[in-house]
Symmetry: C2
Subunit: 110 residues, 2 copies
């Protein structure tokens, strides 16, 4: 399995790439939950994630890992940059991982 | 009550200041938990927090908020910098807050 830092780097790189949506969803476990932004309803499972991440290429999203990336056992927090429609944002994401290295949850602070 | 961003700014500023340990602990609720680093045992309540934060001045800790600070309702995530003993680190902290604006939990990713 990939280490979590590699999974995070792939996650950010795949964001917004039309031909990487399936690869991005494959980073997650089958029961994974996404809370993005924090405070909104959970998106659960591959279909919901594919629908969510599938909207990003149309919005012209480009993700860049600017760090730091902090991994502690099966949890991680990291800072990255999103450029979309002329705006630059710097969200902080939290992730948890299962024993196979799949992302089991993601929570995004904007 | 202070807004959460102000509480976070005070928290980082107070870190490592000998005469600000009590002010720092007063930012937390009486039942607050601190998990620092993530994965270690929780420190719970004012006495445990005073002991924990009371060690920082002796270590020469200086905290600087470098951002971003993301607040969403009663939760926040932020990036800051710690200098101590010639080393610079950039932890990401997560906090939750109660209705009075007191910090109810802090989790630190290093």
């Amino acid at each position: 399995m990939a280490d979590h830092a590699t999974t995070i780097a792939n996650y950010v790189e795949f964001l917004g790439k039309e031909d990487k949506v399936d690869d991005l969803v494959a980073l997650f476990s089958d029961e994974a939950t996404v809370e993005d932004p924090v405070g909104t309803d959970l998106k659960v499972g591959p279909d919901a994630l594919r629908e969510f991440y599938g909207t990003l290429p149309g919005a012209g999203v480009v993700g860049t890992l600017i760090g730091p990336v902090h991994v502690k056992d099966d949890q991680a927090a990291f800072l990255f940059q999103i450029e979309a429609m002329g705006t630059t944002m710097t969200p902080i994401d939290l992730m948890t991982f299962d024993a196979e290295g799949k992302i089991t949850s993601m929570r995004a602070f904007w």
